[in-house]
């Protein structure tokens, strides 16, 4: 049964230095609040897994929380580069970042294998590309019936998987709707899991299309607007301005570090962080 606790308690208990951590959410429902809390609590030496390491991982990489990144597409969606990711890979700042690089189809197959209790997944993928030369976790596999050669990828089983959802009920059953990404598979593949939710309700909304029963979730933490600047379908829209602003904030190492210190490390909660960000947006507009 999921414990319904605060986000700081959940991260303190379930995210450990050196863990493989997956924060998933495909544009929708990205668990920013949880990412910030990991930064606040100063976790280090993490292996970060995520299909689309966008701004949330740019922040974690920029503060030096990660030693390795497992991913398939690292950019600021609709905007451009991730400057902290690039600086880490191109220049080793703030420290070198090992990468394990896949395609979306491969990452999805890895999570599915993990959720299914299988050691590997099979796909028609990577053929003719240079990815297998650089990524050990891509291997050929032959169909025992047709002899056709396909591609295998190993299961991805994070030590802890973290997602954001719209709702949990009072027993900790989690419900989400809208674009569902790979969140269910990530949670089921994880050894432990944290779900931040917009709110805890008596009964899940009938619009819920994905339910994660309480007994497959380690901790549920209510965090209003916990996906900002991503969005929560039915609750709030994507803050596209923030994504564009991030391009400026993150270009310069000093400016980035300043921003992190002021907006994450100097705020005690995600609520405080949001109040600060919104206050500045109001001044700027």
């Amino acid at each position: 049964m999921a414990a319904i606790i605060s986000l700081s308690e959940a991260v303190a208990e379930h995210v450990r230095d050196g863990d493989t951590v997956a924060l998933e959410g495909f544009t929708h429902l990205i668990p920013y609040a949880a990412g910030h809390e990991i930064i606040r609590q100063g976790r280090t030496n993490l292996t970060l897994a995520r299909m689309t390491p966008d701004v949330i991982y740019d922040q974690l990489i920029g503060v030096g929380a990660a030693r390795k990144l497992i991913f398939s597409w690292g950019g600021n969606p609709g905007v451009g580069s991730l400057h902290r990711f690039r600086d880490a890979v191109e220049n080793g700042w703030p420290e070198p970042l090992e990468i394990e690089e896949h395609s979306h189809a491969g990452m999805a197959a890895r999570y599915v294998a993990g959720a299914s209790g299988l050691p590997f997944g099979v796909l028609r993928g990577y053929t003719g590309t240079e990815l297998p030369e650089h990524t050990d976790t891509i291997a050929p596999v032959e169909c025992p019936f047709t002899g056709e050669r396909l591609t295998a990828v190993p299961a991805l089983t994070p030590d802890v998987s973290i997602i954001h959802a719209q709702q949990a009920d009072r027993t900790g059953n989690v419900g989400l709707w809208g674009i569902q990404g790979v969140q269910k598979e990530a949670i089921l593949a994880g050894r432990r899991s944290i779900v931040t939710v917009e709110e805890v309700v008596d009964h899940l909304d009938p619009r819920v299309t994905v339910v994660l029963p309480s007994w497959v979730v380690s901790a549920v933490a209510p965090v209003t607007h916990g996906a900002h600047p991503s969005y929560a379908h039915g609750y709030y829209d994507r803050d596209n301005t923030f994504y564009r602003d991030w391009d400026v904030i993150s270009r310069d190492r000093g400016q980035f570090t300043c921003w992190i210190d002021k907006h994450i490390r100097s705020t005690a909660t995600f609520d405080e962080h949001l109040a600060l960000v919104r206050g500045q947006a109001a001044v700027m507009s």
Binding site: T27, G78, H104
Partner: protein
């Protein structure tokens, strides 16, 4: 990057002409796997013009999305709200793309070679890159499994290269029958649409040949912008300029 070409009564931007040309390539009822940006806009333009039954699939899991505005991100809420159905990301790649249900996949690239192979991974050495690009995303499997792909990118000597720094996704491989030998179900890239013109593969060799130039652009510009000796089709044509209606609809779609 905002070079404009004259069209009757109003000016089309480079993005607009690329979008219009891409939209015209889509037939009614086509199932498109679209990314954000020009491909999404092109597919929506086609849907509002001659292809009302085009099916738009976004890799975020929305099938049959009908956004009124081009989304900024691949997972915008409007895609889910207007879709015929929303499925998980693993399902999009397995039951829909890999199973061969996508007619046309759109791809962009930082680099393309003469056979339509593309690089979206690194400029320079993989382990010590000059520019680290976003990476593969959905591209390798779109390139392999869509029945055909359309490439959209600006034509410069830096992007149209004789040799890729990294092969992220396969076009016509080493040309000839080499793609087929890799066992890929899709036919590969059938068109490259650039800011200068249109390239299509030689049916035998798979090498991309200049087959059209946009109004106001020249073969010489295309050749100069290409890092390999660009061949020009004997029956080269000039792109029909965007019509007033195309531009009206396009601008109504993209105005914010």
């Amino acid at each position: 990057m905002t070079a404009t070409v004259p069209v009757p009564a109003l000016e089309a931007t480079t993005d607009e002409i690329m979008t219009v040309v891409a939209a015209r390539e889509l037939t009614d009822g086509v199932v498109c796997f679209v990314g954000i940006g020009l491909p999404s806009t092109a597919a929506n333009l086609a849907r509002h013009m001659h292809a009302p039954r085009a099916v738009l699939i976004y890799e975020s899991g929305t099938i049959g999305a009908k956004p009124t505005k081009p989304p900024l991100s691949i997972g915008d809420g409007e895609l889910a709200e207007t879709a015929d159905c929303v499925v998980s990301v693993p399902e999009i790649f397995s039951y829909w793309l890999q199973a061969g249900r996508v007619d046309v996949g759109f791809l962009g690239a930082a680099q393309v070679d003469r056979y339509g192979n593309i690089n979206t991974t690194v400029v320079g050495d993989y382990d010590n890159p000059t520019v680290r690009l976003p990476g593969a995303g959905g591209a390798p499997e779109i390139a392999a499994s869509a029945q055909q792909t359309f490439l959209l990118l600006r034509q410069t000597p830096r992007s149209f290269v004789p040799s890729l720094d990294f092969r992220t996704s396969v076009g016509h491989a080493e040309g000839g029958s080499s793609r087929q030998q890799l066992g890929m179900q899709g036919r590969g890239p059938t068109v490259i649409i650039t800011d200068i013109g249109v390239l299509r593969p030689d049916p035998t060799s798979g090498e991309f040949i200049l087959t059209a130039v946009h109004p106001g652009r020249t073969v010489e510009e295309a050749v100069a912008a290409t890092g390999w000796p660009l061949r020009v089709a004997p029956n080269l044509v000039e792109t029909v300029p965007p019509t007033l209606e195309e531009l009206d609809v396009l601008r109504s779609l993209t105005e914010s």
